[in-house]
Amino acid sequence: MKNIQIILNAILSQDVFEYILVDRRYRITDFSENVSRYFDEATQGGNDIRHYLPEIVGYEEEIQTVLEKGNNRYVLETVYKNNYYINIILEYYSEEKVLILLHNTTEITLSKLELLQYSNENQLLYNTIKKILDSQNNLLLVTSNNKIEYANRKFLEYFSIKNLDELKERREKNFSISSLPVKSFNELYAYAKDEEKELMIGEDTFLVKATMLETTYQLFTFSKVTKLSEANQSLEEKINRDPLTGLYRKSFFDEKLAEALEYEQTVTLVIADIDNFKTVNDHYGHLAGDSVLREFADLIKNQLRENDIFARWGGEEFLILFNCSKQEKIVEKIETIRKMVETHSFETVGALTVSFGVATSRENETVQSLLERADRALYFAKTNGKNMVVVK
């Protein structure tokens, strides 16, 4: 009886509800007159409800429990049908029949949709802006009422803060996190609002600029001032390195060798040359050749100590300078390296070998003469079968 009351009330209340009755086999037994407006075609008794309401597919078990248990009820909200939005409600009608109520919610759903559209578009915009701010090299900070509202990735990284949430959680302590040498953000704003000002944070120097956003937010931009000496150092480092392998260049190597000879240190010079490298380039192309050079450089670098100087002479020739007078020790080490290369499988090209020429400095040695001797040793190795270590 209760259900019939619902139907009656529903039908009376400005066609907000339509109904369909279906049997155990999903056949339509009865329906309200206007129900077809939700479907592509006119409703016919005896047909499978799933033809008109494919939404029911997958809910068969639920329908059976409605029939069996009597008091179960299922609601499927906000289903788009033929330009309407409806809620589909499955209810017990009798032991043989299930009542399907179609509740028209178009009006309210359309206003919800408008809000959702607006919020999703804003979310996308927010994500984009966030990415832009995070890609900046400056530290950016937005505050309101002396509290941090937003900080970009650089800012969080600089102060070792995991994420914005952590920053907000620690809101009261905001200020100690940033360890700025002023008492409040308002004070900082007053200090930097007219022109860019210099500011020390720990050891680092920053230029800070404050800008008002709307009437409540303050934007602070911190740009780190790189000290000239630091900049020079990294520039020098770049100039001295071979870009392909990251090893020292020949010019730097010569400088270090000359220094050592000047201080009359006994040094051992090793020239390494990859055997038959030309065929690698010819066979596999220059990209594969480059990757062999890099792999080779890494392989050997791992065998050397911090103060051995390892450089690329050019092409497939490498130089190593050992600051050590015990020649046998070095030859032993080079022999190990030679064997290691021999058994190593290079990417793309597989097995390769390498020849070494070794020379240890004598009295009144010059860069030129030492290089020449090592080179002659290498030449001997190359002309006597390769893949060997020769000492001069």
Binding site: G58, V79, L116
Partner: protein
Amino acid sequence: MIRKKILLLGDFNVGKTSLIQRYIDNTFDDKYLTTIGVKISKKFLPVGTIECELIIWDVEGATPQKQIPEQYLVGASGAIIVADCNREETIENLEGHIKHFKAVNPDGKYVVAYNKSDLLSAEQHEHFDLKPETFLTSAKRGEHVNDLFSTLAKEIFT
């Protein structure tokens, strides 16, 4: 007639509606009209002599504020889990959508779509290493959209 329900699940704006539109009508629209609730489309797919129909559920996208209601997931045989290959966060959320789907449908099959592949550079394209059942799709250009649906359909109907 065998009818099977499949879902398109994923974050908002990843292209769920567009993938379905491309699959069913072979068209594409640049304008973003978000989906609220669900909209069902049907696709007739005879397998041999058996009449089969895919009931495709275009489900509203998950947003940071709202997850997908569980009532939509009930009784699905399969799902296409969609991410926008240009939006990292939508890729990170794939796992969550898969878990959600599997929790309601333990026997459900699924495939994954990294959509909007037309926005990737050739180099980025290479970078994507795809597992089986994972597709780099473009609803805009129609690339791998049919593969995506037919792979899932095959899993479900055979």
